[in-house]
Symmetry: C2
Subunit: 111 residues, 2 copies
């Protein structure tokens, strides 16, 4: 991991993340879907989520997820990558994200 | 309980409450405090919460809590009373509200 890898995007220290931001970030089905895709399929570039929504809207969702400590973004070559911060976040709010994700769309077939 | 007791205020059927509304409603410390007071101290009229916030703001908070199925309001004489709907809501989203409330302000002394 090259030094300064995260420098182009701001990320909060998990210690400063408030539960209000986490709840707000997860109170949206598109944002939950982004988090699920990262959990289930691993890190991926911004342009590959295939959600059929405008880049500006997607950018807004990524920002909400970053501010809530749910994802981390970093530049890799010419791509902006996304990864979850769930290990960090779960240490601060144990079980919260799992609980919300499992209750939110329980009947989805897979993925 | 007189028939038509709830008729002056609209309440969603719990079956129609979405998790997005619950998360949004609980993503605010004042709204969480209202819910806690109802859980810990029982039903109470709108004017007795003593939160030091403007009535119009408080009214907005009550509406968010009603829409999320978290509280029910009813008129009793000249007072508008508030009660929780946590039994109903917990049947739909098991453990969610408890989890959020216990993680949100874990270090508060009491009440």
């Amino acid at each position: 991991m090259p030094l300064g890898r995260w420098k182009s995007v701001e990320h909060p220290d998990i210690a400063n993340v408030q539960i209000d931001e986490v709840l707000h970030a997860l109170a949206d089905p598109t944002r939950r879907r982004i988090v699920r895709m990262l959990i289930e399929e691993g890190d991926r570039p911004c342009g590959t989520f295939g959600l059929g929504i405008a880049p500006s809207t997607l950018s807004h969702h990524f920002k909400a997820l970053r501010n809530a400590g749910l994802i981390r973004q970093f530049d890799s070559g010419r791509q902006r990558m996304n990864t979850t911060r769930l290990v960090e976040l779960d240490a601060k709010f144990p079980g919260l994200v799992d609980s919300i994700l499992s209750l939110a769309e329980p009947e989805r077939p897979n993925g």
